[in-house]
Symmetry: C2
Subunit: 316 residues, 2 copies
């Protein structure tokens, strides 16, 4: 599978990850329902293995490798949740993972990846150095590279979250997810439109990393201009595959401020008693700031992850 994934691929992915990934719970909150005048359903990928939806895609991709390929190893570059996801999914499949990380990556992220048994190769903190280190390892070992989002198997895996959500709450009017590289958004859009063609599929982005919004408006991929949003999972640009899928399947993309992100991250902690990372709050802010008309509607929200440095909370 190297082309745009279909709903059939997502159904296959769901079978593949069953028993390995968690079927995450769907929570509701009377506080947020009252605030919005809508009925909100939070799909809790923060409770997923490695604390983020990324495990779904990584496991779906890695579990499909032939044993010969798997034995040559798995490789990716990431200092975020995808790194942990590839590390754990490789380990669960009995393969060795190598993660290329910038030498200035937070120690807490490095340790998490190491705890999952992956080897870490440090590189300079530039895109060139990262690519060079990765290419070199691939050329020596023949390891398989798992792209964090521009990969059809990864996208199909991420789509299983929306599939589960719509199976549990079939009459959603709207589904909304954050957009970073677009893997989750792509899988969510394909699954949602296939299960319920009249559902409205929305993406949400920080104003400080609004490349998907601008790409969507322009009709061509626009690069990220800044990387200083607090929503660290959403700093990447779209890929060729995810842009195509989002262009064809997403109804609208809305953007939110940094202040709203921090405010709503905190509100979720205080009111729902669950830990979400800043990227998670982005779609919630879009709903609370009135960017979308949801009054009286049933709205599904993918909560993407809960990996936060508890020593550095954004409201300190």
């Amino acid at each position: 599978m190297s082309d745009i994934p279909t709903y059939s691929d997502i159904k296959e992915a769901a079978k593949r990850i069953q028993g390995f990934a968690h079927k995450t719970p769907v929570l509701q909150s009377s506080f947020f329902n009252q605030r919005t005048g809508a009925e909100l359903f939070f799909k809790c990928e923060n409770f997923q293995k490695v604390g983020a939806f990324k495990f779904r895609g990584a496991f779906n991709a890695i579990s499909q490798l032939t044993e010969d390929d798997g034995k040559k190893g798995i490789i990716t570059h990431s200092s975020g949740n995808h790194a942990q996801a590839v590390a754990l999914a490789s380990k669960m499949n009995g393969y060795k993972a190598t993660i290329v990380m910038p030498e200035n990556a937070p120690i807490v992220k490095v340790n998490a990846v190491r705890d999952y048994g992956a080897e870490i190769v440090f590189c300079e903190s530039t895109i060139e150095s990262r690519q060079e280190s990765t290419d070199q390892i691939i050329s020596t070992t023949g390891a398989t590279f798992i792209h964090p989002y521009n990969n059809a198997d990864v996208i199909a895996g991420q789509g299983t979250s929306a599939k589960e959500l719509l199976e549990e709450v079939p009459d959603l009017d709207i589904i909304i997810a954050p957009i970073g590289g677009g893997g989750l958004m792509s899988g969510t859009a394909i699954a949602s439109k296939s299960i319920k063609p009249d559902i409205k599929v929305l993406g949400a982005e920080p104003k400080l990393a609004d490349d998907a919004y601008r790409s969507f408006q322009a009709g061509s991929i626009q690069p990220v201009l800044r990387t200083d949003t607090i929503a660290d999972g959403l700093r990447t640009s779209l890929g060729s595959l995810t842009f195509q899928i989002i262009k064809d399947n997403v109804d609208d993309i809305v953007t939110v401020t940094e202040e709203s992100i921090v405010r709503d991250m905190r509100r979720v902690w205080e009111r729902m008693k669950i830990i979400i990372e800043p990227s998670c709050a982005v779609p919630i802010s879009a709903l609370l700031d009135g960017e979308v008309d949801i009054s009286g509607k049933k709205v599904g929200i993918i909560l993407t992850g809960g990996n936060v440095d508890l020593e550095n909370l954004p409201w300190k």
Copy 2:
């Protein structure tokens, strides 16, 4: 009902709170299972209304008042979760609540109670002043006093959490809860021993507030000697009713250090992505520190609440 509640009272309480209190979820954690070699089931009262199990008891007591009594108002003294529980349960029953709070109570607690529509009467931060203020209001208004734990209706309400847990996981070998005033522990013990007579019922306390442990050993109520444990929900002494129930129905009480409480509170945040308050971590520390032999056992843990001041986390 003014005597020791029975399981029949807990079943009645369960009917009374249905549709008003949340049926809270039961979560599992592969991290904690691996750490302990047991299978742990976390009953999430941190997701309960007002963020704590206290709502169950307060609603069960207040919803039984005659309309004549209810109209005279409800009163309690507390600066903790019971205050919020009485405030919200009164509001939901259409009654006016008055909460007597020390003038140095944290503003976040004061605001939470006010948000639920209760009137706050401030007193000096002494037991005498608190009692005097309370008595004065009762004598003028005829308001009904709802004790935070030494009240059979409150105890019966708290017991509904263990009832739900055992209905969802009927083959628990052990159930463990923290002990403050003993209301939750009492309701948990009565429900558990009635549903599954051979279950082991355990209580957990901070070493710095081990009055229940000492009372249990001595066979008579021993006062709390210090009030500086971080587990702020567990600083109170047992009441006559709760001591009697605990003496007759609890198999053992174990104690844990402050260091373990903070460590395990943080572990739950990091690994389970849910927010628990320090009191919640006390039974978990008892299990992790080997105070109880749980290898190969199924263990239920009541997570009592998630009300934490996010500006003042104990690991900063």
